[in-house]
């Protein structure tokens, strides 16, 4: 710590103290140094200080210089009137060292006009306050004697405390540079560094704008050490601009000690630099490229010297790198931001069809890219011939937008300009003839537009409107980059906007003309329907009209063992390989419907059993989706029937086995009984014969039962194979009738049989054996339920395209109440007469099923009165050419 040493100064602090005490009020009220009251003070005990051999300064708390003696004026080469701390500090290098001495007690050395000065400062109590007394002593004479000072020598610009301050400032600048790449922060740090090292009235850093070929100046505003902020100057410095112009053109530093006296002034001083009496400037260069300039100016002459120039050159080297990097970073940042914004724009607008929603998204996305006050879209309304400002419009209120309409009458110059689709750029909108012609004058006035950029929007060669940008926030005119960016954006959004316009225009119409496909898609897409389809145990596969899979539910995934992701959106043909040849027809059908949709109304459906590679058996039901006469696609329903198919196979195997096993013992029983009845095993008495006859009849019943059961099982499992062919019903009827005639004679039950078939009866189509079985079954009923001497008539007639066969008897008839049940399986009439006759109750049921398989019908007529008998009628289709084709 610095020790208070009053002796060398030769001042009695007591004296000083008492003197100061007298001056309390005067000091505090003292304003400028030259104030009259201060003059009076000098006459009092301060005289010894004023004549002291050392330069003495008294500095009030807060930095005000309240007193300086003559020696000080001499040392700083200023008059007493001019003396203030700021001005003194500017003479000292480093000024900061000097200023530090002026605010706190201490000791320091610094250079003043090339000479070395040592200073001591004391804090002196002064009423309730304290003041700083600075005593300065010249250690080596000023600049005139180079041998005594190294400060003016190249390479020895600085030393001692000044060197420390310089490196401190330099290190601080370095720190800032490392910590930030932001241009403004860097510029601030550079300017602050220069301020500390070379005091001046004006210090400016300019940044070279390569595109526009001018310098953008930045200065620090505000009080040093407190709130500083960087300000971008409004005026740019061109190549011909005063000292800056010299720096740019010559790429060399400029030091002018006295602008008024200088004979080799590079330029005539203009108004703006008239106040500058000395100037120091260096260009900032990096890698041979101009980055900007550092410029210092002072209202005093001789403010800067060669050592200042050297310091400034050192600073400029570092500053050049810093500014270059910051500019590059800013460019990269902007580029990155542009890309991000454009990507966001594309993403945000994808799928948006509502114009307002779309424009909102676009405006929001591009606003960060273009730093403008007014941004929005003008869309041309073709039907009205009006350009309309679209909501939202950045910087324009909604009620203004309602009025933002620019008429473009057909054939007018305004329309011609619009149709030309040229970008319009103006820096003075209110006086732009082109804009006036276009009809923008009132808008320009009302919105306070100065600079404006109109970028045309156009899709497929026809104009849609404009992207309007106006008034950049920093007040600068629009650059080529802005225009370029605007064009890119316009190019990107034009077609989207056009789609949206068209969509909004036709939306109402579209809704009216039921867009069925959208409806179906809507139905499928809605979560409720989808949930239902997903929940269905059957696999569901939906294709669109083009045959592409649009829905593939959970069950379908399981049944077909296919992942939804692998099928969704793909054409169905892609999967023919997976499902094997069995699925070929199914896929072919979908394909066929997709290429030539079924005509309407369509009842086309398609059913198939597909055996998959893993042995799974799947039934598929395919149907076209037709809604209000429009083909919307197909629906396929899959059902895993592997288990059913297996069960069916086992069942039919069982029935076949059982029937075979039953027939074998029945063969023995029936055979041996008949052999006995033949008397082949010896003579039998009447009772033995009657008993054997009973065994025989019951065996017959068993045989019929087994055969009927086999038939039923075949019909049930759909395994009745009909060999369809043209049949002559007359032959079959005759044969069957003859058989019963024979039985009638054998059984000695006399009956009259009539055959009433017209000679020209057309042939029917049917399976010979089955039609035989049907007629036999019905004739058998007629025969057994008709008492002796009854009458059985077989009649046939053509009715339209069918042949109707009636089997009429004079038997016991069928009560009305039983007629509904007569075709049920195992049903037998309640009449004891019926029960006496052997039967299974399966005959009519089988007959009905078989007739149905022939596309015919079976019905009965009976009064139910015994003796009036009944009429069983059935139909069979007439054989024609179509049948032949089917074969």
């Amino acid at each position: 710590m610095f020790q208070l040493e009053p002796a060398p100064l030769g001042i009695s602090l007591v004296v000083l103290g008492s003197g100061f005490f007298l001056l309390t009020l005067a000091f505090f009220r003292a304003a400028p140094v030259s104030h009259p009251r201060l003059q009076t003070l000098r006459k009092i005990p301060l005289a010894p200080i004023s004549t002291h051999d050392k330069a003495v300064l008294l500095i009030e708390h807060g930095g005000r210089l309240v007193y300086s003696n003559r020696q000080a004026h001499e040392m700083f080469k200023i008059s007493g009137k001019e003396a203030n701390l700021d001005r003194l500090a500017r003479r000292v290098r480093p000024s900061e060292t000097f200023l530090a001495l002026c605010v706190d007690e201490g000791k320091a050395r610094f250079s003043l006009d090339g000479g070395l000065v040592e200073g001591l400062s004391y804090s002196i109590p002064y009423g309730s306050e304290r003041v700083i007394l600075v005593a300065l002593q010249q250690l080596s004479p000023s600049g005139t004697d180079p041998t005594s000072s190294n400060l003016t020598q190249p390479g020895h610009v600085i030393e001692g405390d000044s060197a420390r301050t310089f490196f401190q400032a330099f290190a601080e600048l370095n720190r800032t540079i490392v910590s930030t790449q932001e241009l403004e922060s860097c510029l601030t740090a550079i300017l602050e560094c220069i301020e500390r090292l070379i005091p001046s009235d004006f210090s400016t850093i300019t940044v070279w704008d390569e595109v526009n070929q001018y310098l953008i100046p930045y200065v620090l505003q505000g009080i040093p050490g407190e709130d500083r902020h960087l300000e971008k100057a409004e005026n740019h410095h061109g190549l011909d601009f005063e000292f800056s112009g010299y720096l740019i053109n010559n790429r060399s530093p400029l030091l002018i000690p006295d602008t008024q006296a200088s004979t080799n002034m590079p330029l005539t001083p203009t108004r703006s630099i008239r106040s500058i009496n000395s100037f120091l400037g260096v260009p900032m260069m990096f890698a041979g490229k101009l980055v900007g300039t550092l410029e210092l100016g002072s209202s005093s002459t001789e403010e800067f010297n060669k050592s200042d120039l050297k310091i400034l050159r050192l600073v400029s080297d570092l500053a050049a790198v810093t500014v270059y990097n910051a500019l590059t970073f800013k460019e990269e940042q902007r580029y990155g931001q542009e890309l991000a914004c454009l990507a966001q724009l594309a993403e945000a607008t994808a799928g948006l069809q509502d114009l307002n929603e779309l424009l909102t998204q676009i405006v929001e996305s591009i606003a960060p890219l273009l730093d403008v006050e007014i941004l929005g879209f003008l869309i041309f309304d073709k039907t009205r011939g009006v350009l309309r400002g679209q909501c939202p419009f950045r910087g324009l209120p909604v009620n203004f937008l309602e009025l933002y309409q620019i008429m473009l009458p057909a054939g007018s110059p305004a329309e011609t300009i619009f149709l030309n689709q040229e970008p319009i750029h103006t820096t003075n909108a209110s006086e732009d003839a082109y804009l006036n012609l276009l009809g923008f004058d009132h808008v320009v006035q009302a919105a306070g537009i100065q600079q404006m950029l109109l970028i045309p929007l156009g899709a497929k060669g026809h104009p849609l409107g404009y992207l309007q940008l106006a008034n950049k926030r920093d007040g600068s005119p629009f650059t080529d980059i802005d225009r370029y960016l605007g064009t890119i954006i316009a190019g990107q959004v034009s077609s989207i906007i056009e789609d949206a316009i068209r969509y909004s225009q036709t939306n109402a119409n579209l809704r009216k003309q039921n867009n069925h496909w959208e409806d179906l898609e809507h139905i499928i897409e809605t979560s409720r329907s989808r949930a239902i389809l997903e929940a269905v145990a059957e696999g569901v596969l939906v294709t669109d009209p083009a045959g592409k899979i649009t829905l593939f539910n959970d069950s379908a995934q399981k049944i077909l063992n296919l992942d939804r992701e692998h099928v969704h959106g793909l054409p169905i043909e892609r999967f023919s390989g997976l499902f094997g040849w069995a699925a070929h027809t199914w896929i072919e059908t979908i394909h066929k419907w997709s290429t030539t949709p079924p005509t309407l109304p369509s009842k086309d459906t398609y059913q198939e059993q597909i055996t998959l590679e893993d042995g799974l058996v799947v039934s598929v039901n395919l149907a076209p989706v037709v809604f209000r006469d429009e083909f919307l696609g197909t629906v396929s329903i899959f059902h895993d029937i592997t288990h059913q198919v297996e069960l069916d196979r086992m069942k039919s195997e069982f029935v076949a086995t059982v029937s075979h096993e039953l027939r074998t013992p029945m063969t023995s029983i029936k055979g041996y009984v008949e052999v006995l009845l033949m008397g082949a095993a010896g003579e039998l008495n009447q009772q033995q014969l009657r008993f054997l006859e009973i065994i025989k009849n019951n065996t017959e019943r068993l045989t019929v039962l087994v055969n009927d059961l086999l038939d039923i099982s075949r019909i049930e499992s759909g395994r009745v194979n009909l060999a369809m062919q043209p049949l002559n019903l007359r032959h079959i009827a005759e044969d069957t009738l003859n058989e019963f005639r024979r039985i009638s004679q054998e059984d000695n039950r006399l009956m009259s049989f009539n055959l009433d078939f017209p000679a020209d009866l057309p042939r029917v189509v049917g399976d010979s054996e089955r039609v035989n079985q049907i007629i036999h079954s019905l004739l058998s009923n007629a025969f057994y339920y008709t008492p002796e001497n009854g009458e059985i008539t077989l009649r046939a007639q053509r009715i339209v395209d069918e042949v109707q066969v009636d089997i009429q008897d004079t038997g016991i008839g069928i009560p009305i109440t039983e007629q509904n049940h007569i075709f049920e399986r195992f049903y037998r009439g309640k009449n004891p007469l019926v029960e006496a006759i052997p039967g299974t109750g399966l005959g009519l049921s089988i007959a009905q099923e078989l007739i149905a398989l022939h596309q015919g019908r079976l019905w009965l007529q009976s009064s139910g009165v015994p003796g009036e008998g009944s009429i069983f009628s059935f139909t069979l289709p007439i054989y024609n050419h179509n049948h032949r084709h089917k074969e």
Partner: protein, 135 residues
């Protein structure tokens, strides 16, 4: 009358057929499986063969096919007598070369009549052949 070979694995039925045919005056050569039937056919050269379809090892169809493919035996008429009565089974039997397919249970009386008809037909063919050779 005629020498008839029977092939039937069920003893009861084999005896029933044999008894019935013998009553009708035919000579019967009973066999109980397909191999035996083939062997005896070549050995005995019967006038007619009655085959069951479902027999152990060699089915009736197979026996029929082999007899029909042997030039020495292919002229012998074959009748199936089977409990298997489905259309496809009857069809398969006839395609194998049988002249008749009788479904069990059968009536012995009817069987004798049918066999008689077939034999008479064969006999007529024989006579015709003899007649034409004579001329």
């Amino acid at each position: 009358m005629a020498r008839i070979l029977i092939s039937e694995d069920e003893r009861d039925i084999r005896e029933l057929i044999a008894f019935t045919l013998q009553i009708a005056g035919h000579e019967v050569i009973p066999t109980s499986n397909g191999e035996e039937a083939l062997e005896m056919t070549v050995k005995e050269m019967p006038d007619l063969i009655i085959l069951d379809v479902r027999m152990p090892r060699i089915s009736g169809y197979e026996v029929c096919k082999q007899i029909k493919s042997d030039p020495g035996t292919k002229h012998i008429p074959i009748v199936f007598l089977s409990a298997k009565g489905q259309d496809a089974e009857v069809k398969a039997g006839l395609e194998a070369g049988a002249v008749e397919y009788i479904i069990k249970p059968f009536s012995p009386d009817q069987l004798v009549n049918q066999i008689g008809d077939i034999l008479a037909q064969q006999y007529l063919i024989k006579i015709q052949v003899t007649d034409t050779t004579r001329k």
